[in-house]
Symmetry: C2
Subunit: 429 residues, 2 copies
């Protein structure tokens, strides 16, 4: 852990920096994978799955039997926890569906916007070391609430050609039946362009490794929608002297265990808390199964003392953390000062883990400073707004001359003529 | 104009295709411009403005005197039209600001999302042949309603080093004072990275030529937000036998006059209307000052007969037009069947021109098929949603075990520990 005490503002830029992500080394490989899938379809998927996942698969779609088998394997405890989390996520996201509000902007001129589901979406669920069934809930529930007509899921098969049962259980629980045993860049390419067995989708969601992330960026350049640019996960804990060092340490560790590249930061107004936190981290670290990963991530973690709270907040807003934990005596007081963050956890009894899994908020959030401009995933991520307007003949007769003046001032006389031809129409208004 | 009568579905893909946009030829040039601005700042801006805009400028910021001079030049007619349009745009966009709704997802667990303005935004307003002051209104008004703390504008200078007075008038009308005489890729680079005279912003909005569009894509790859990928403007008119051919022709022409690459399409259920439209287009074309441009665009326009209305709608949804005009006997009946479009104009007396300028809706819309996944610009484009959550100790004691079960099932024991350390805390709940 790296300690900084009241760093001067001119040194802030280096503290605010994220590690550079060098994806160029993979570019040629990922381009090649995408090109193969685009041209050869399923044939390429079989070859690439054999090569990267080390398993020979003929069919990618998970069948009914496999689905049922997964349900039998998942413990009732986990089943119950999934149903509680799903209910909370559903409750929180259902409130995000917007009502249509028609506005008469001008007499007889009615305008409105309507949320319309994206017809076809694809969800990528990583496999590997952690079976992220929680991401099935976080993407699947808003997609269902949005009303997307086609929702497909890709998740990499293991060496036995299986997808982790808890992932399948979550899919089945939500009623998502189109689950494909596909991982990596080949899964992204399959969803982007479609093959005989995998339907093409309009927008692709979900986290993934460097292959997946780069593939998403590449297909985006060809017009396929993606959720957001993904980077390593981040937490910033803001703590004052009243905070419990064990809570802080546990929060830092729960971020650090995600991966060696996890971004872990503590900003505190109280220098005394620092040492306590350091000690507590050491104490708690040993109990973690993923301590090796956590230790690597902690090596680059930053513990920063900034005595002045408003200056600390300014620092945080510049950093724009994905997760921000406010472990303060009076956290509510500063909420309005938070300008840039993905998700904010208020007070000592609101650990990030709650939002990661079960409080109902989405855990797919902007990283790498994107919180300055981007939102986390919500129902609206699975929809777009279409604008509608309707004018009566009288409405056009009233607003038309204004439109014509503006159009002509932009040298667009055809626009003016499209109004005039209607105004010229004889007969009573 | 190209005519297609009831094309079979296997021929649809070629009809749905947009012209390929080959930007690779500009890539090296635009990368070089961006690199120069990034390294040399204002010095590069001066050199590039001399090179591309053919004018030597020392200062880029428009001063008070120039602003005032613009106000004096703009006719009172135009001033009045701008104020009407601005009022309608404001009315329509003000309704887009979301209220915060706190939700108790689980007992003592409160979650909410809050719209927070993007702190710094840059608006690019093209100069050139058409002084797009309307775009100042369409971007400036939602930015102001969102509450962005810093709003800057770049627009290219003419050979006299001036920005078109109507653009300056619109900026001044909205109270936007930071207007820079900068165009092209150099303007985008200046806003992305900042120079001594131009502040860096977090997100860049606005249309532009190929240089501008490519520059926006390149700075986006380095983490700067952009509004949306821009392509040539598009209209699709859907008409039945009741439609007035002159109205249709005028609508097609008002799109065609935008540029030689404008996408103009008519889909009709009635073959008889086609000939009338063709004749009317010829008749009306000659009256247009921009007929040369319109003629070029019309050469590639497509007039398509699809007898079956529901099949016509399916075709339209696959095309996902930026603008869709429903010139039908009963347009309201099919509104819910429209799945993919940027902005829909309902009925014979709702020309696109109204929405382009003054009805209140935004004219910055997804092109090139992006309407399948993207929305047009709204107040939310200038904001992001931050998630907040607050749990009491009792709330955590109730939900915590569920969180722990889920975390452990994903092998994230540190997440579970972050809950446990809090539950272990002694004392009364």
């Amino acid at each position: 852990m790296q300690i900084y005490q009241n760093p001067s503002e001119k040194n802030w830029p280096s503290l605010l920096e994220r590690p550079p992500i060098n994806q160029n080394t993979l570019l040629i490989e990922v381009q090649k994978i995408i090109g193969l899938v685009k041209i050869q379809g399923d044939k390429a998927l079989r070859a690439l799955t054999l090569r990267y996942d080390r398993i020979r698969l003929n069919d990618f779609l998970v069948d009914e039997k496999e689905m049922r088998a997964a349900v039998d394997v998942v413990s009732t405890d986990l089943q119950k926890a999934i149903s509680i989390a799903a209910a909370n996520i559903k409750k929180f996201h259902a409130a995000q569906v917007q009502r249509v509000e028609k506005i008469e902007t001008s007499r007889y001129v009615h305008c409105w916007r309507k949320q319309v589901p994206i017809e076809k979406v694809g969800l990528y669920i990583p496999g590997g070391q952690a079976p992220l069934f929680s991401t099935v809930l976080m993407l699947g529930i808003p997609a269902l609430l949005a009303g997307c007509a086609e929702i497909i899921i890709c998740s990499p098969p293991d060496r036995q050609g299986k997808i982790n049962p808890s992932i399948l259980y979550a899919c089945n629980y939500l009623g998502l039946k189109k689950v494909y045993k596909l991982g990596g860049a080949q899964a992204i390419a399959a969803m982007a362009y479609g093959t005989s067995s995998v339907p093409a989708v309009y927008k692709i969601f979900g986290p993934g490794n460097q292959y997946v992330t780069l593939a998403k960026q590449l297909v985006q350049q060809e017009g396929v929608g993606i959720d957001m640019p993904a980077g390593p996960s981040e937490v910033l804990v803001l703590a004052d002297g009243t905070a419990n060092p064990d809570f802080i340490a546990a929060d830092l560790l729960s971020q650090a265990e995600h991966g060696a590249d996890s971004q872990v930061m503590l900003v505190t107004t109280d220098v005394n808390i620092l040492k306590e936190v350091q000690k507590s981290v050491q104490r708690q670290l040993d109990a973690l199964p993923r301590k090796k990963i956590a230790r690597k991530s902690l090596r680059y973690s930053k513990l920063i003392v900034i005595h002045d709270l408003s200056m600390a907040i300014r620092f945080i807003n510049l950093y724009a953390p994905e997760h921000l934990i406010l472990n303060l005596c009076n956290p509510v007081k500063i909420i309005d000062a938070i300008k840039n963050a993905g998700s904010v956890f208020i007070g000592p009894y609101t650990p990030e883990a709650a939002g990661d899994y079960a409080s109902g908020t989405n855990h797919t959030l902007p990283t790498n400073g994107y919180a300055r401009t981007e939102s986390g995933i919500g129902v609206e991520s699975f929809m777009k707004l279409i604008t509608f307007q309707q004018m009566s003949r009288r409405g056009l007769s009233l607003l038309g001359p204004c439109v014509q003046t503006l159009a002509r001032a932009e040298n667009l006389y055809g626009h003016s003529a499209a109004v005039q031809v209607r105004l010229n129409k004889r007969g009573r208004i």
